[in-house]
């Protein structure tokens, strides 16, 4: 193979003109959805409705319909919460960290990944709130003046979580919207429908593509990226504090924050690849979301997969090295106890299968990467299950040990969260530009001045 490493590969393949880029991205919004779209939408809405039904039952009859019971009080709701928050991390990573690292290839996938962040955090937010049993009283989680003169406990990781996740959602949303403003303006100026034009005008805020504005706009992007980067690390760190600040063996470890963050990026990238493979095919965006993009994401999956594998090994090492009996027991119990099946699903999906990405052919083969990233999604869900359930089901007191079994309602609500996620993704693909038009235009060939008079253009 001969690759010229002195030249950066073009971010937009096929030498598209600016007008062609815009045409490609705007086409899903300009055309009426076809039959396949409605089939996909009806499947995901059905899943959503199944989840909503099971949720309504659990609200009416109480959370006793779930498998949660002593000693496993933190079961599916927390597993699903951590899973979805983790999925959300890829978006901010792509849009903020890769922006600061000047990875220009991020432009093609950033918008989509940011949208997935927002949708995933929405799915995540449902679970801790319904886990309280009376979600309509969720306002009590915020510090507000009340007649009991009580405040929330600011030294509790659960309150940190409330602040971290809500800040993360708000900042991701603001970041996403700021990126959308110029695209709304572009859509406003190209649409022929009066209703659409009104809607786009409202959301574009009357953006004029003015260069006196672009200066501040680019500055704000750097500032937001600079804040979002530590934020994305802090969110999963704080989520891991929910576990690490307790004294339960298997949870009380200092490796948790970096381990959780690596796992979050791992699962988030896997989800982004899963969805993008379909989106680029269905909406004919192969030139903007290229195979190079997918390959680069697969490399990140390989790296973070090994970080996660290192964390698994290090947990075992520290359990042995610390000499704490309870800690040693928990880890042996994880690998060989009643939940060994879950543990080995986790290890094989997260550590073993991603190793195939060492081969360039597999990294660039769509069917192969589909299989691996879906396995990674499964594995990362099981990672949270293993961490949460195995530690709780066998803690210090053998007399209170119990085997946790989820009920059909648990599965129904999990399914519903996938329904919500995919419904939002499907609606998003038809109503907003899935790729940032202005950012992709800016990195297209010949989009930036040559600064020598443009003699060699024309």
């Amino acid at each position: 193979m001969s690759i010229d490493y002195s030249q950066e590969a073009p971010t937009v393949a096929g030498r598209l003109t600016l007008a062609q880029i815009e045409e490609l991205v705007a086409r899903p919004m300009d055309t009426k959805p076809n039959k396949k779209y409605f089939i996909a939408l009806s499947i995901s809405v059905s899943l959503l409705l199944i989840g909503a039904t099971f949720l309504a039952f659990s609200l009416y009859y109480g959370t006793g319909l779930w498998g949660n019971n002593q000693p496993v009080g933190w079961a599916f709701p927390i597993v699903n919460f951590v899973f979805w928050v983790g999925i959300g991390h890829a978006g901010t990573l792509i849009s903020a960290i890769l922006f600061l690292l000047r990875q220009r290839w991020r432009t093609g996938i950033a918008r989509f990944a940011e949208a997935m962040t927002i949708f995933a955090v929405m799915c995540a937010g449902i679970f801790p709130i319904i886990h309280t049993g009376r979600p309509w009283l969720a306002g009590y989680l915020t510090p507000y003046p009340n007649q009991h003169a009580l405040w929330v406990n600011f030294t509790s990781p659960l309150v940190w979580d409330v602040f971290a996740v809500s800040t993360y959602f708000t900042v991701s949303f603001v970041f996403w919207y700021v990126g959308l403003i110029p695209d709304f303006a572009t859509m406003r100026d190209r649409t022929a429908s009066k209703l659409k034009k009104t809607i786009y005008s409202v959301f574009s805020l009357g953006w004029r593509h003015s260069n006196r504005h672009w200066t501040h706009y680019e500055k704000s992007y750097i500032l937001l990226a600079g804040f979002a980067t530590p934020l994305v690390l802090s969110v999963h760190t704080i989520v891991s504090f929910d576990f690490a600040v307790s004294i339960l063996p298997g949870w009380h470890t200092t490796i948790f924050p970096p381990y959780f963050v690596a796992g979050a990026i791992f699962s988030g990238f896997a989800m982004v690849v899963t969805v993008l493979v379909f989106v680029r095919k269905i909406f004919d965006l192969q030139h903007i979301i290229t195979l190079d993009h997918l390959e680069k994401m697969n490399k990140v999956i390989l790296l973070t997969g090994m970080l996660v594998g290192y964390a698994y090994a290090m947990e075992f090492f520290i359990a042995w090295y610390s000499g704490v009996q309870a800690e040693q027991f928990v880890f042996i119990n994880r690998a060989f106890g009643p939940y060994a099946w879950a543990y080995w699903i986790m290890v094989s999906c997260n550590v073993i299968f991603p190793q195939f990405f060492w081969f360039k052919k597999i990294r660039r083969s769509i069917p192969a990467m589909m299989v691996i990233v879906i396995l990674v999604n499964v594995g990362m869900w099981f990672e949270r299950f293993v961490i949460t359930v195995t530690s709780l089901s066998r803690d210090f007191l053998p007399s209170s040990w119990a085997y946790y079994k989820p009920t059909i309602v648990d599965f129904g609500i999990l399914l519903g969260s996938f329904g919500l996620f995919f419904t939002l993704v499907i609606l998003f693909t038809k109503s907003l530009p899935v790729v940032s038009i202005s950012e992709v235009k800016a990195v297209a060939d010949g989009a930036q001045p040559t600064h020598h008079g443009g003699a060699d253009h024309e």
Partner: protein
């Protein structure tokens, strides 16, 4: 046709980014100040070509970020250390390490949100959908793939013919004169608009009414008012007699309940003897309970001077010879069983408290009817010099 309209500016569109950079440089160097360049994405090098100063947006971020940190820390200090101090996990009231996560999150939240709001509202002066550039051919082309420059009529050097010539020399694709749009009037009293207001009013008020008066009283939102448990005085299908409440099994005594053998007798021949010594603590307890339960009718000093101003018949004084000759057990019996119009206080005052009241009544009786020897003893104890 546009002769009576006010000109906003003269616009020229170009095809390549190099041309627009060149045009921006020329316009700047010719001394125009009130002009703008519109491009579908930020073109590198435009800031120096237009001589735009670096953005000051960062200062907004700095100030609001620092305020976020300060607000978070001060608020947590005030709630956790001043307003309602609680020891949690053995941490100090001001547990700085535990306050860091929330401080960080609030810093980020305030910094980013206010940066964006400040940028849009103060730096961009948006939303502005009535700007003259909107809905022009010029705007449509720079929104897509052209690069445009517009010199505005507010510029000191503005001269329509001169600028048109000047821009023509730059070899643009097109030159467009942009006018201020006609003022559009939106009368408030349109039937459509009024209908909209009415609908919004009905939806908001109806929704609020349903939420506060109906929804909050429906299971499961009703604060767990409805519970499948046994309530006192309620029937139950669980027991064959239909009563929810149970009586103790025969021959047993409920915990903390000692039966009183003389209940219901008016003048019992036999009474209990006082099991409590009149210690200081016991008398203090008796005083408190006497003030609460007895003094309303009997008066603070047991003189029978009721504070009820005739709403309830006054009891006789407890300093009569008959009352002073009652045994402790007799006074206890009267409190427990009641006498004449005085009801039983057995359900309100515990056994120990009743005996404490008896001891306190004895104190009052002795104080009101003190003998010479009592006085000498008191003077000895307190060092005073009181005579009868």
């Amino acid at each position: 046709m546009n002769s009576n309209k006010k000109i906003f500016g003269i616009a020229a569109t170009f095809k390549t980014p190099d041309e627009i950079i060149n045009a921006a440089k020329k316009v700047t160097n010719s001394g125009y100040v009130e002009f703008d360049v519109n491009t579908p994405y930020p073109v590198h090098g435009m800031d120096s070509a237009m001589k735009i100063k670096p953005s000051k947006l960062g200062f907004v971020t700095l100030v609001t970020g620092l305020s976020g940190a300060a607000i978070a820390l001060l608020f947590m200090y005030w709630t956790m250390s001043v307003d309602y101090p609680l020891v949690i996990g053995g941490k100090p009231f001001f547990a700085l390490p535990a306050f860091i996560p929330v401080t960080f999150e609030l810093t980020v939240l305030l910094a980013t949100v206010s940066t964006v709001i400040a940028m849009i509202a103060l730096f961009f002066r948006l939303p502005d959908n009535k700007h003259p550039l909107h809905d022009t051919e010029y705007m449509k082309s720079v929104s897509a793939d052209k690069y445009g420059i517009v010199i505005e009529s507010t510029d000191a050097k503005f001269d329509e013919a001169a600028i048109t010539d000047f821009l023509k020399k730059l070899n643009p694709l097109k030159i467009e004169i942009i006018y201020y749009p006609e003022e559009e009037a939106y009368p408030i009293f349109q039937p459509k608009f009024i209908m909209l207001l009415v609908v919004i009013t009905l939806v908001v008020s109806g929704g609020t009414y349903l939420m506060l008066n109906k929804l909050l009283y429906i299971t499961p939102f009703n604060w767990m008012m409805e519970q499948d448990k046994l309530n006192p005085q309620h029937s139950s299908e669980l027991f064959s007699d239909g009563y929810g409440m149970r009586t103790p099994v025969e021959g047993t005594v409920a915990k903390g309940f000692i039966p009183y053998p003389y209940m219901g007798q008016t003048n019992p021949t036999d009474v209990l003897s006082n099991p409590f010594l009149p210690t200081k603590g016991n008398i203090e307890l008796g005083k408190g309970k006497y003030f609460t339960y007895c003094s309303t009718c009997h008066g603070y000093f047991a003189d029978g001077d009721s504070r009820l101003r005739g709403q309830f018949p006054n009891p006789p004084t407890l300093h009569s010879k008959r009352a002073r000759e009652f045994s402790d057990g007799m006074i206890y019996h009267i409190i427990t069983n009641g006498q004449n119009v005085m009801p039983s206080y057995a359900s309100q005052i515990t056994r120990e408290e009743r005996w404490a009241i008896v001891n306190y009544v004895r104190v009052l009786q002795r104080a009101k009817n003190a003998s010479e020897s009592d006085l000498i003893e008191m003077n000895k104890e307190t060092g005073s010099n009181v005579t009868n």
